[in-house]
């Protein structure tokens, strides 16, 4: 079956948009074709610095024929209804069929549309798709036309089954030609089929596929590093970006001048990455950063890359001079002396300056430190200095180095190592892959930093919404949860209201990955007095294990039955059954047995919960299963005697209350 080839050739497409554009092109085309009844064998989209390409294999030469039957008015309907139907279908009365239905005879219009030739369909859908292409940012460039593309569009290549598909967009008519690499090829290239196209482009120094460009770069950097006895410091984000900046990536290695090698590695690496898009290399034996970098050019230079390397080294020298200048200047002033300057930095309009924030964190970090057995003075010291690096030149230039630089400057100021480490680590964890701090001083700081942000922003009404979380509060809450759980910290969360339910939601997300059921978290949170996350999780885990047992599942069923009966009867009587069960009113053996079992369980469970022996508490509950089942088998709750009935309802309420010591069973699903 025939194939489609489409290439949209433009001026340089921003690297960050390329992958998304390939996905969008594929998605829109699949949508447009399936809407028109097409099935095809395969589709693949490619994006690079100057082109978007789409190849579809096995696309039928004709659209499927369509036969639609349209039901019209009844035979005895007024003439106007029939006229309207004829107008709508474009048929005459003779062409209508008549069909018998239970409601009488009706007119049926049979509309047959022969499938159109595929090129005719393509001519229609491609310009339409281009006109609504969802570029994150696009521009006008043709005088008098409001059409937009990411950058000026220069040519369109479009063939179906090796033949031109003629259409135009933004005044550009489709053709059979494209161009190769901007500098490594000359003239136009004609292509009618994908294989030929890809092959010719490769000969013209264009690698079509982003993954292949990334692989070339990855291998190239690895090899180049190896030659120097080094290894690359992996950087996925950078790899993806540079893959979008070269049609024919070539790796060259340059040298970092010795004079910069005593600047902290993080500064060098960040400067090279952010400004220059270079890969850093390291010594595989020591793990230390090496004085070499790998750069990715879009050029096989005729001098073997001499000028390119020399030029890049020169640029880097200027960049690193700036960075080193900041590093040297920054160390002339202690962090302590910088704290006052935080007065001039607004944290958030409603939450004051960074200095005010530091003062809050200082207080909170001290309180937390006392509770978790960290050195209070050290925690307060670290808190006082934790944001001071925001006023330094290096952090001004590279905001992502906040904390990292604070640690360097603190060490330079001869602060305690633990204080310095806490300054760096208080931002942790910065993402799901990042480790949580474990040193107690850092833990106190990290918790204080995040809790202050969370309580502050919630109080200021800046809660995250479905689509937006500009202050990264979800990450902060998840950070708090992970720090508490992974360090097994017994520190009750002193939060309430919206923030508490926000934490509950984050906790569900965090525990979901570990296979913990969200309804059980709700059930335990539902108790309302559990702010200690470590205990909460232990309780949830014990409960989950218990519900997996036969006893657990049956007891839950018994609970639900009891709860349902209570719900109905409490509504009927318009009261809640919470009174003591009268032993003298118990007549049936099954209810006496349940009463005894409940009394025993109740007194046994409380001290076990107290000791946090949740597994044993569950064991006690398991013992209730048999008497509960027996009760429902042998006892009629709604006895004729009003007092007996109420007593039995009170007995069920007592069961409910007993189970609610452990969790809000009503919130458990299943």
């Amino acid at each position: 079956m025939p194939d489609l080839l489409l290439e949209l050739f433009s001026e340089e497409i921003p690297a960050r948009m390329q992958a998304g554009a390939a996905r969008d092109l594929e998605r829109l085309m699949v949508g447009a074709l399936t809407d028109r009844g097409y099935l095809f064998e395969g589709i693949k989209a490619f994006a690079g610095p100057r082109r978007l390409t789409l190849a579809i294999a096995g696309l039928p030469a004709k659209q499927k024929d369509v036969r639609d039957e349209l039901k019209g008015p009844k035979l005895d309907a007024p003439q106007a209804a029939l006229d309207g139907f004829l107008k709508k279908t474009g048929l005459t009365r003779d062409q209508l069929k008549i069909e018998k239905t239970p409601k009488g005879d009706v007119y049926i219009a049979v509309i047959e549309r022969a499938g159109r030739e595929t090129p005719h369909v393509l001519v229609e859908i491609i310009p339409e798709l281009m006109a609504k292409f969802p570029w994150p940012k696009s521009m006008r460039w043709k005088p008098g036309l409001s059409v937009r593309w990411v950058r000026p569009l220069h040519s369109i290549l479009c063939t179906f089954d090796g033949e031109l598909v003629p259409f135009s967009f933004a005044g550009v008519s489709s053709g059979l030609h494209t161009r190769g690499h901007r500098f490594l090829s000359e003239g136009k290239i004609e292509a009618k089929r994908f294989d030929d196209y890809a092959q010719k482009l490769r000969a013209a120094h264009v690698v079509l596929e982003a993954d292949e460009r990334a692989a070339i770069i990855f291998e190239g950097v690895k090899q180049a590093a190896f030659v120097h006895g080094l290894e690359m410091i992996p950087d996925e984000g950078l790899l993806a970006e540079v893959s979008g900046l070269a049609e024919w990536p070539v790796v060259y290695v340059g040298t970092i001048p010795e004079e910069f090698m005593d600047v902290p590695a993080e500064i060098l690496q960040t400067s090279m990455r952010t400004h220059q898009k270079y890969f850093s290399l390291r010594d595989p034996k020591t793990g230390k950063m090496a004085n070499r970098f790998a750069l990715v050019a879009n050029m096989i230079a005729s001098d073997g890359g001499k000028e390119i390397v020399a030029g890049n080294e020169r640029v880097l020298r200027a960049r690193l001079s700036d960075a080193k200048f900041f590093w040297d200047e920054d160390r002339k002033h202690s962090l302590e002396s910088r704290v006052e300057k935080l007065k001039g930095i607004v944290f958030h309009a409603k939450l004051g300056t960074q200095l005010e924030r530091v003062e809050r964190i200082e207080k909170l970090a001290g309180e937390i430190a006392a509770k978790i057995g960290a050195d209070v003075e050290m925690a307060k010291r670290a808190a006082r200095l934790c944001k001071a690096d925001l006023t330094t030149g290096v952090v001004g230039e590279f905001p992502e180095l906040q904390g990292v630089m604070g640690r360097y400057y603190a060490l330079h100021d001869k602060e305690d190592t633990s204080v310095a480490d806490a300054i760096r680590n208080h931002y942790k964890p910065v993402g799901p892959g990042d480790a949580v701090p474990t040193d107690k001083v850092a833990v106190a700081m990290a918790l204080a930093d995040k809790l202050d942000a969370l309580t502050g922003f919630f109080a200021a009404g800046e809660k995250p919404t479905g689509s937006g979380d500009p202050f990264a509060l979800r990450r902060a809450a998840l950070g708090v949860i992970r720090i508490l759980l992974e360090n097994k910290l017994r520190l009750p969360l002193a939060v309430d209201g919206d923030l508490l339910s926000f934490f509950a939601d984050r906790l569900k997300v965090a525990l979901k990955e570990k296979g913990v059921r969200h309804d059980l978290i709700d059930a335990v949170f539902g108790l309302g007095h559990e702010g200690d996350l470590v205990r909460l999780v232990a309780r949830v885990e014990a409960l989950q294990a218990f519900l997996k047992t036969d006893d657990g599942a049956n007891l839950l069923a018994g609970y639900k039955r009891a709860a349902n009966i209570l719900k109905v009867e409490e509504k009927r009587d318009n009261k809640t059954f919470i009174s003591e069960v009268s032993e003298t009113l118990l007549s049936e053996p099954a209810e006496r047995a349940l009463f005894a079992a409940l009394a025993k369980a109740k007194s046994a469970i409380a001290p076990l919960l107290e000791k946090e022996n949740f597994a044993a508490a569950m064991q006690q509950m398991a013992a209730l299963r048999v008497p509960v089942d027996a009760f429902f088998d042998g006892v009629k709750v709604n006895a004729d005697d009003k007092r007996v009935r109420e007593n039995r309802l009170n007995l069920l309420a007592s069961l409910r209350a007993t189970l609610h010591q452990v969790a809000e069973f009503s919130k458990i699903e299943g």
Binding site: P143, G144, V315
Partner: protein, 293 residues
């Protein structure tokens, strides 16, 4: 192709290159401004339907970039070479690459790249899409397709090419310290400008009289508004807008404008720029006929 060996050669090469491509070679505008974009030959001529191709050197003042003559490449006064092409020719990237070849940067041995960098001037209410052009990892040019100026959509769209002359010359001459650039065979850049950088840094950061500058700002704003009422004089009015903008930049360098005030001042300049642009479009050389909504 020989490399432009001096600073003035570089300028002369660009002048003859763009002259040969049909550009008007204009002279710098005689007002202090932060960038070539402020030149009325760019801001105002970018608007309206009339074709316009011009190239010029524009001395650019960025008071807060002053470093007392000590930084290897930061200057409070430097030169931009600006090319404005309206409508943007289809082959504008090729034309640009021709100019790079002309000054002696051979794309066969260098790595020339167009890296996304959209441009925006909040003071001019202007924005465009484009790139910074990299040569071996060094940004040598800003390349922008104007979409909007003075808050008004550009149609036709023009291309603006801005070369940072000192930086480009440093690259071509293989010089690390801007003051070491050969201006011609006899003089260094430092011979011409080093003392000026020292003195103006002191003026910008320490000595500029802020009361006078605040007054300048107010006066320029007032005069600009007056010139746009009654019989409108967009060109003189726009001069006042430029003056207000520069007074603001100086006040900013003096550190007397707080973060919140800053946005308000920028908004005031933008309002002037917009009013000037609107008046320009109603003037004979502006003749704006909207073609789409």
């Amino acid at each position: 192709m020989a490399k432009a060996s001096t600073f003035q050669d570089l300028i002369l090469t660009l002048q003859s290159y763009w002259a040969a491509k049909g550009c008007l070679i204009l002279q710098p505008y005689d007002d202090q401004m932060g960038a070539g974009t402020f030149h009325p030959a760019t801001t105002l001529r970018a608007l309206g339907p009339r074709p316009w191709n011009a190239a010029f050197v524009q001395p650019s003042r960025r008071p807060s970039d002053g470093r007392y003559g000590e930084n290897p490449n930061r200057l409070q006064h430097y030169y931009q070479y600006q090319v404005i092409l309206k409508p943007a020719p289809e082959n504008v990237q090729e034309l640009y690459l021709g100019s790079i070849r002309a000054i002696g940067l051979d794309p066969d041995v260098h790595d020339i790249r167009f890296v996304e960098d959209d441009w925006e001037s909040p003071t001019l209410g202007a924005a465009g899409l484009g790139w910074e052009v990299w040569c071996d990892g060094m940004e040598i040019t800003q390349f922008t397709y104007f979409q909007q100026v003075g808050g008004i959509e550009c149609d036709p769209v023009c291309a603006e090419i801005t070369y940072g002359l000192e930086r480009l010359a440093m690259y071509v001459q293989d010089v690390e310290f801007v003051y070491d650039l050969k201006f011609n065979d006899q003089f260094r850049y430092g011979d011409v400008f080093h003392q000026a950088e020292q003195e103006f840094s002191a003026y910008n950061f320490e000595r500029a009289n802020t009361d006078i500058l605040f007054q300048h700002f107010k006066d320029a704003e007032k005069q600009c508004r007056e010139l746009l009422t009654g019989k409108k004089l967009p060109l003189p009015a726009y001069d006042q807008c430029i003056k207000a903008s520069h007074a603001f930049n100086l006040l900013d360098a003096r550190g007397v404008i707080s973060v919140t005030e800053r946005a308000a001042y920028i908004g005031r300049v933008r309002a002037l720029a917009q009013a000037c642009c609107e008046a320009w479009l109603q003037s004979p050389m502006g003749e704006y006929k909207p073609r789409f909504g």
